[in-house]
Amino acid sequence: MTTPFFEVRALSVSATSATLVAPVDFAIAPGRSLALVGPSGAGKSTIARAILDLLPRGLTRRGSVWLDGVAIHDGSGPWRARRIGALFQDPTTALDPLMRIGAQIAEVVRAGGERDHRRAARIAIDALAELGIDAPDARARQYPHELSGGQRQRAALARALVLRPALLIADEPTSALDVTTQAQFLAALDRRRGTDGLAVLLVSHDLAVVAAHAEEVLVLAQGAVVERGRTTDVLRSPQHAITRALCALHAPSAPRAPHHPSDGAPIIATQRLTKHFPVAAGWRTTHTALHAVDDVTLSVHPGEVLAIVGESGCGKSTFARLLPRLLEPTAGAIHSGARDVRALNGPALRRWRASTQLLLQESAASLDPMRTLDDAIREGLRLHAADAPHTHDARVRAAADAVGLGRALLDRPPAQCSMGERQRAALARALVVDPDVLILDEPTASLDAVAADHLLAQLAAIQCARTLTLIVITHDLGIVRRLATQIAVMYLGRVVEHGPAAEVLATPAHPYTRALLDAVPGAAGVPIAGDVPSPLAPPSGCVFHPRCTRPDRNDDCTRRIPPLLDIAPARRAACWRAAPALPETLA
């Protein structure tokens, strides 16, 4: 064994009164990857920032960091980005919104010693190209908000790697990304490990990512290492309780059996539902339209759990907002039993909205910061419940109990609660008015693995107890496996596949569904390339054709839009090549 290449010796972090991270030692060899895992608050990110010497005010680090036998600290000359690159969690905020992508990378090149502005700009574009970003020249001239989340994160990676550092510290680099963009990103990272011998320190709460992309793992809990070793060994036979708990979260669960086929009327049925957002184009009123939801015909029966999956930008959230009519559809119909939802107004519309509750993705932002949780939960009752106010106390408490929200928390404002507690309060607020349908938009996106697991368990219990109908918007196939009885796959505003969860997961009919399943960390498939095209100008014919890898795709795919057709009992897909023996009349 030669001397370790990157080494951390007795690194600890303390605040004035408490130790946040107990002394930790580890080493990473070139081309290798080490993961720090643990529940939130375990000190993973603190260690990452301590290595970079970028701790928040009031925190001090002890111990030393060594690279190639030389101690690295603030006095040892410029080393950030040159020797140690860093990448932080949220691609939406990691880049300066006011500066072009190319300029943000070029300024790092210039800080690294390049004097010539033109050459710096050239190097920046090459760095983008190297990470498989298409049209890097055009991307370099764009601003962060003009790029998708995945493109932004790859641009941030290009900046972190442009000076060819020996080590990359990546703090939850893919937590905010779709499963497909996550797969593309991690594949790009693995390539750099192979070609440049880049060492990677990966901070993650996602054991599936860790299992596939890190050789070694350190499990942390409350600022101390509780277990360490080769990833395969640690995950196969976890020793510590925390590690076992984390592994249990990621044990693949069998998909749920389809809900008893109900012959009754669907509780929500949409017909050719469409939402286009007008986009002002110029001087004369030439409008183009953003095709958010296109021609969606779906029905949900009482007691079903329908998961709507797809990458971001596929219209899932817009569809969720159309159902309670928080957005008005451009065309199409929504029915509930015999009721025409689009014709409702006044009190009838309010009753419809009370019975179709929407839980928004950002729980932190969906609760009024000036009100206590009790207030927030009670408000729905004041608006919708017919019974006397003195019964509200009991109903608020019952809702809080149902979601496992401690009563002591009810008197607190959201700011004094954790993300998990806030999300449960938002859930209690939705449940307190006794809805028939609950729509959840990425319910666990802002939660760590433990809090997410807790919320999903509660949701499953509530759904069974009340025979609630759930519509879950998600890009996380783990949630789909755990909760869904039915799956609808959306791509660019259209439903491309719909059917019972177990069958769709086992035998995906549409190439896009296949691609989503292949992108799950550790899956054998090749991750799908490219990004979702702009909904301002959807591709002709089958909207998926530019990314489709089916060998038997043909001219039909580029010319004609495939309808969503029955391919098997209870299963539908919108693919010219998936439909078995199309009747001649339709072709």
Binding site: G85, T93, L95, D96, E107, A156, L163, G282, W283
Partner: protein, 316 residues
Amino acid sequence: MGRAAVVRLLHALGVIAVVVTLTFALARLLPGDPFASIADHPSVDAAWRARLRTTYGFDEPLLAQFVRWCGAVLRGDLGYSFSAQRPVRELLAHALPWTLLLSSVALTVGGVLGIALGSGQAVRRGGWADRLTGSTTLVLASIPDVVVATAVLVLFGQRLRWFPIGGATGLDGGGAGDVARHLVLPAATLALLVAVTLARFHRAAMVRGADADYLLAARASGLSRWRIFWRHALPNAIAPTLTVIGVLLPILLTGTIFVEKVFAWPGMGSVLANAVLARDYHVVTAVALLSTTAVVVASAAIDALLAWLDPRTRAR
């Protein structure tokens, strides 16, 4: 883009029309008229009094007066100032350059000082310099303008005699040097008032943005603190500050009455104060027209600047 500009222009013209109409009506609701002090004396003959008012059209219905005034304004005639005994246009043409000089110097100096103070405070937030500056700006922002102006006048004008106390006459009187000497005290007072307001807003904006991930990422990218400040922290925090400047701009044009009065600066503030006291309708309405136009132009300019700074607002 073009369409939005036209809508914006129509909107602006609407604002100007409403403000001018209100000012025209409100000025006439004040008891008395431009001749109250001379014509209403008991010794003045009633017939002559009536004839005087008929001559100048003050006996007509308010609406007729307004229509006539609007017609005149559209022809470029702002009316006549009875108290100053000269056309309103001449009066304003004389006062406006003085005000523009004073407010532009005060805004530039105060703007730079305020942004520098606020930025410095934010960079060293929590330290003694931040707290000292914070309490000083709070005290100065709380004291009425006129007190600050008087204190500056007494200290630097009367006691120390560094600068003249008032009575600026113009280039033909004492030359550029004289104007500059007279400018120092009122400009410094106004600049101070602008700076304390801006410093408070700017510090808050900088502190709010201080935890942004892109600043952390910039530090992790090895950029110098100086570059991070100039290219990332400052541009991202400047929007609220620019908005405040947009609000201050029209106030500086007419709202500097106290400072102009204290330092006997012959600008728009002095003109407006005299006109209100003398019920000089035409002057009051003309100043309202001018200042409203300034508000509208200033807010359009600031919006354009914000759009240029922030690509996200440009896209919409």
